[in-house]
Every structure is written in structure tokens, then in C-alpha cells.
């Protein structure tokens, strides 16, 4: 699946997108965030405060319990500040 990062999450992780295979045992968005943070380093630092992270799967806002499938596009970003 494709992971995309925006705004300060992109800057802190140091990438705007990456392709990863859906890890075994990762069934939903919350588990994906745990798996990413467990990679340590930049990921752990960027994902330290979950309250300020919003998630979209296939361009729709979702909650932490949203199920994931191989082929999904998962975007992580801070609360939006347009307008």
C-alpha cells in the first residue's frame, strides 16, 4: 500500500510518500500507526502525539479503527489549516 505524509509529518519523517507491504498483523489504522512508530527514529518522533494526527484512507477521513487492505492509499497529516 501507499503511505503519504503531509505538512510537518512529511518534514519530520523526511519523505512525502513510500510504498510498503501491509505488515502481518496490522488490520487497522491504529495498528499501522503503532507499527510505524515502532520503526523508531524519525517515525517515532513524528508520531509521538497521536492527538494531532489525522488519517485519510483512499482520500476519505477515517478513525483509528478503520480496516486496512493491501492497495489502500493511507495519508497521515496534521489538522488542516487552509482557507
Amino acid at each position: 500500500m501507499k503511505l503519504r505524509y503531509f505538512a510537518w509529518l512529511r518534514a519530520r519523517i523526511g519523505a512525502s510518500e513510500e510504498e510498503v507491504a501491509l505488515p502481518a498483523g496490522v488490520g487497522d489504522v491504529g495498528a499501522l500507526l503503532d507499527w510505524l512508530a515502532a520503526k523508531g527514529g524519525r517515525y517515532e518522533a513524528a508520531l509521538a502525539n497521536r492527538k494531532v494526527i489525522r488519517v485519510a484512507v483512499n482520500e476519505e477521513y477515517v478513525g483509528l479503527d478503520h480496516p486496512l487492505r493491501e492497495g489502500d492509499e493511507v495519508a497521515l497529516f496534521p489538522p488542516v489549516t487552509g482557507g
Partner: protein, 151 residues
């Protein structure tokens, strides 16, 4: 109609276009958002807007459909820019057209309030101190919350 673009826009031409060819329109209301020259207590040099291409257009179209469902609009337009903008530059235009002003005023405010909390844009501010990402404001959530439908 939704447009997400780097280029500036001509407000007069856009508003004229919104009402053109529809003599049933009696009211056009617009909101234009500009880059302010202050960020907190500091002088702003520039602001850079990042967005999520694809999702941005999708969310803006949803918000626009919602406005048309709630009010009797004849037409509407949202133009949002991205990229680096300096103080005084236009960021966003929201315009609504209706036969009477009430619907046009309400829908225009609804559109900008919802856009601010739902459309995936992020602002980064450049001052003498460096660059920093703008944090979401609780006031914007409250403004959007006013439009929540009672169930």
C-alpha cells in the same frame, strides 16, 4: 465549481461569470481570503500552502454539494490557491449566487467555515525567525460546528 490552482484569480471576472446567462440570479455573495502581514507578533515574509491533490478537490466538491443541498443556490465557486504567497495576495475565493440574498450569504459563510476544517490544506509561515507550520485553531472548529445539522 471547484478550482485548486497556483495562479491568482480575477475576482471581478469570476463573479461576473458566476451570474452570467442566468437572469434568475438576484444575489451574488463572495468571500476573499488574503495573506495577512503578521504571524503572531511577527512580520510575515510569506506563507506556503501545501495540499493533498485529489483529496482536496474531492472534499471541496463534497462541501459544495452539501451547500447546494442546504440552500437554494443557482451557482457557486470555490477557488483555492497553493504554493508560496506573500502578504496581500489572495488565497481563496468563495462565491455563491441565488435568487435572494439570504441563501447566498448563509451558503458563502458555510462554505468558508467548512472548507477551513475539512479541505486538506496546510499553511507554513515564513518570518525572520524561520519557518513554522500554522496550528489549527479551535475557533475554526467552533465556526464549522455552528453548521452541524440537528438530527
Amino acid at each position: 465549481m471547484i478550482r485548486v490552482q497556483r495562479e491568482d484569480f480575477d475576482v471581478g471576472a469570476e463573479l461576473a461569470g458566476l451570474a452570467a446567462g442566468n437572469p434568475g440570479i438576484g444575489a451574488v455573495v463572495s468571500f476573499v481570503g488574503l495573506v495577512r502581514d503578521r504571524a503572531g507578533g511577527e512580520r510575515l515574509k510569506a506563507m506556503t500552502l501545501e495540499h493533498y491533490p485529489g483529496m482536496t478537490e474531492k472534499k471541496l466538491a463534497e462541501i459544495e454539494r452539501d451547500a447546494h443541498r442546504r440552500w437554494p443556490l443557482e451557482s457557486s465557486l470555490v477557488i483555492h490557491r497553493y504554493g508560496r504567497l506573500e502578504p496581500g495576495e489572495r488565497i481563496v475565493l468563495v462565491a455563491t449566487a441565488s435568487s435572494h440574498r439570504e441563501a447566498a450569504f448563509a451558503a458563502c459563510q458555510f462554505l468558508i467555515d467548512w472548507l477551513k476544517t475539512k479541505a486538506p490544506f496546510w499553511k507554513s509561515e515564513e518570518t525572520r525567525e524561520g519557518e513554522r507550520w500554522v496550528e489549527a485553531r479551535a475557533e475554526d472548529d467552533e465556526a464549522a460546528g455552528r453548521w452541524a445539522e440537528k438530527t
